[in-house]
Assembly symmetry: C2
Homo-oligomer: 473 residues x 2
């Protein structure tokens, strides 16, 4: 069912076979926790991207930072790639073993190491997922706001600099990781950051590792900011006559400084998919799905402002979700949009875009993308964290029809170039991985990518940490 | 009047004399804009730290990124240090030419290059100061919140990862720099980031350069986030029976998630100094100076909550500053606390501390620091961005009495160790510079400092960019 690796990515396939001595050493050290079973390797050799590649040669199930360090020391000795693996929900081919090697499964590193409710910080192992974290700290009255669609691991979210629906108010992983434990390419364990809210102590290694997609070090423990659950929360949906009207409402909210917590766009296709998948009856027009956090008065005030602005842009059918159950239903539906979309075209795979533009250009960017997809006749839907200027156009392609994939890639490329010409980025939150490598230099210039290469060579001279990703060395 | 360089810093003095050919090349290229006059060099060879060192050998007044690139290319060729200079307000010896070389004065690079009010972004040259920026964008209804005490340059603020009184709500330079133009150690010009609010495109070079204190590259242009001036602003002062009571009030506010915009502590000594210097009549007890931003209702609501919490901790004499003039008077006084303090002891210099701790440990940290300073009988005062867990204890030392300086350094060291034992940092916003180098390894561990060294060697192999700072190579 999977599509073959696209031709233009074939040069990335540079297998570096693992010496038998390394596998023996892994088996000796980890016994059953080192697997070479094909099914296990295949499960660890793919992600949610539409790209396929041969699986890693082995999978090691790590249970501690020391386990990770030992695998990396062996990898250093034998010059074998290691690829950290959380839950496998990355979208751009981050996890693909394009140069072979070992998948480091961190899923068993799922302990919450310390909660400091009085400091609004928590320290977790990298394999803890975002839902697990929120379930385990709920009794403290605090929550962790970053929520990519999938129930991703905190390690994976840190590695891709993830964000989600709450970023407009709470920031992304960039703003919410305070410190890290990292295994370096030589298998040494280092610590970055502190539990203080800010620091000017030397280079910002925390921010360097966050978003480095496993290519500079393996993050094993992560200290995060957490937040008081707001006194009042209110969610609403509002339909609009056009995508443009919905986005212009958002732009005005942001420009006015309304402290909205979530502001999500769903185009008509996305609403139809979500209605069908989650048995909802949302009005099937472009829609904003919003949430307000604060005191009861503050929330009421924000809601009033938003309704006024929405009305000016033709917004109607304002529906409020005031009980926690109603809210959960709405947001769960939003988070399942990816799967809802896939079900619109059984057997399809998704080619997802992730551009983010300065807010004033958003209406233009979304409308152009939507029109191009309609004109191409390719099934698609749009969801977007529009409060950040970030949106996802997902093309549903039949893996058995190569033309569909080619069209999707072509549309994605046009969409990215458009965003970059607007001072925007090819990826707001998914990362570069394998799939967006060709876009990076156009965005930051070759000088900047050269600096990234220099950093990579300095910190990973043998190129063993998730090699072949972000940029070609 | 200045104190000699302390004995323990003498090994940092490693002059690398400039070859005559380099000076000739600078003169040929920059004519009058390259100065070797002693007065000019001395002005560029010091900052607000209590440390003295021989001045740089030349000062070049740069007017463009190209000027900077040309100086750095010559420095690369002749292996001569270059030290970027904004307004000279750094506090930890960042600007001292401990290895000789050229001071790159960026003060003439003071143009605002573009303002995008609709996107809430602005791009400035590095020499623009924070007050200049706010004056020039005021007509747009937007402002840039980061406000260290001095009217520092945006370049200098980026280089030290500065923050100030608004950080509790708006973040620090870390959160507010979106992109950079940087001259690398080879004199190449690169760009980082975009004008989009978030990005997952490759390594976070922006955050790597922010806080690198001129040691990895010279930032020449900076794109910043700016914010709508709040609809309503209200400021208040409140006196407390003890430092402990004031800090506990703060802790509770933060833990409750009250979105306070500024929350500053002044101890009794600081209030006395500010009263005298600015002809105010604030009650001379430990004091919180607060500001609330939002809608009129939101501000009123925050104020009510704060008054209730303050009262529980014995807070009294709540005074409101509601007009812009009253607010400006209060905050200007707060920003001049450094100079007000110096006037308490004419001829003195300041040894300033800058620890930042997890919020729950703040009362303990501030009280212990205050008691130790009282016990040592050294004149001092405390001001603090307590909403962040960050505070400054400033010791006033007579440069002619070496024992005072030694006592201050001893107290500072104890205070730093205490903060670090609480999972805090030796510097919340001033940076490491020369003065805090010995504290860094204790905070992050030698492994982490080794990674910083590796990055420095990779990006600046000839060690020409502000050498001898942050860590010994």
């Amino acid at each position: 069912m999977n599509a073959p690796i696209p031709t233009h990515l074939l040069p990335r396939l540079q297998p570096r076979p693992m010496p038998p001595a390394m596998l023996e050493a892994l088996k000796a050290r980890f016994a059953d926790r080192c697997s070479t079973a094909l099914a296990v390797r295949e499960q660890h050799g793919r992600d949610e991207s539409p790209i396929d590649a041969p699986p890693p040669e082995a999978v090691v199930f790590c249970e501690s930072t020391e386990d990770v360090a030992e695998v990396v020391k062996l990898a250093d000795r034998y010059e074998v790639p290691v690829i950290p693996f959380g839950v496998g929900s990355s979208l751009e081919g981050h996890l693909l073993a394009v140069q072979g090697g070992v998948s480091l499964d961190l899923g068993r590193m799922n302990r919450i190491l310390s909660v400091h409710p009085e400091d609004l910080t928590v320290t977790v192992q990298a394999g803890v997922t975002r839902n697990q974290l929120n379930n385990e700290i709920r009794h403290t009255g605090l929550f962790f706001p970053i929520d990519p669609g999938a129930d991703a691991s905190i390690g994976g979210m840190s590695a891709t600099r993830a964000s989600g629906t709450n970023a407009v108010r709470y920031g992304t992983m960039r703003e919410n990781v305070l410190g890290l434990t990292v295994v370096t390419a030589r298998g040494e364990v280092i610590h970055t950051g502190t539990r203080a809210r800010k620091s000017a102590a030397g280079y910002d290694l925390t921010r360097l590792f966050v978003g480095s997609e496993g290519t500079l070090g393996v993050m094993t423990e992560i200290t995060l900011r957490i937040y008081p659950i707001p006194e009042a929360i209110s969610a609403a949906v509002c339909g609009f006559p056009s995508i443009d009207a919905a986005v212009r409402t958002t732009i005005q909210l942001i420009q006015l400084g309304v402290p909205i917590a979530r502001c999500e766009l769903l185009d008509r296709h996305a609403v139809v998919a979500v209605n069908r998948h989650d048995k909802l009856s949302l009005p099937e027009s472009p829609m904003l799905l919003m949430e307000f956090h604060g005191s009861p008065t503050g929330v009421q005030e924000q809601a009033t402002t938003v309704q006024e602005i929405a009305r000016e842009h033709g917004g109607e059918h304002f529906q409020w979700a005031t009980t926690p159950e109603e809210r959960t239903k709405l947001w769960s539906a939003r988070h399942r949009a990816y799967f809802a979309g896939l079900q619109m075209k059984p057997g399809s795979r998704t080619v997802t875009t992730d551009t983010c533009v300065p807010i004033s250009r958003l209406a233009e960017a979304v409308t152009a993308a939507s029109e191009a997809a309609e004109a191409a006749g390719l099934m698609h839907y749009i969801v977007g964290h529009v409060g950040d200027g970030n949106f996802h156009l997902a093309y549903l392609v039949d893996p058995n029809v190569p033309e569909e994939r080619a069209t999707a890639e072509q549309l994605n490329e046009e969409l990215v170039r458009r965003a970059q010409s607007m001072d925007g980025t090819c990826t707001g939150e998914h990362g570069i991985g394998l799939h967006k490598m060709d876009f990076l230099a156009n965005e930051t210039g070759t000088g900047s990518v050269d600096v990234m290469r220099t950093l990579k060579r300095a910190l990973d001279p043998k190129n063993i940490l998730n090699p072949g990703k972000i940029f070609a060395l």
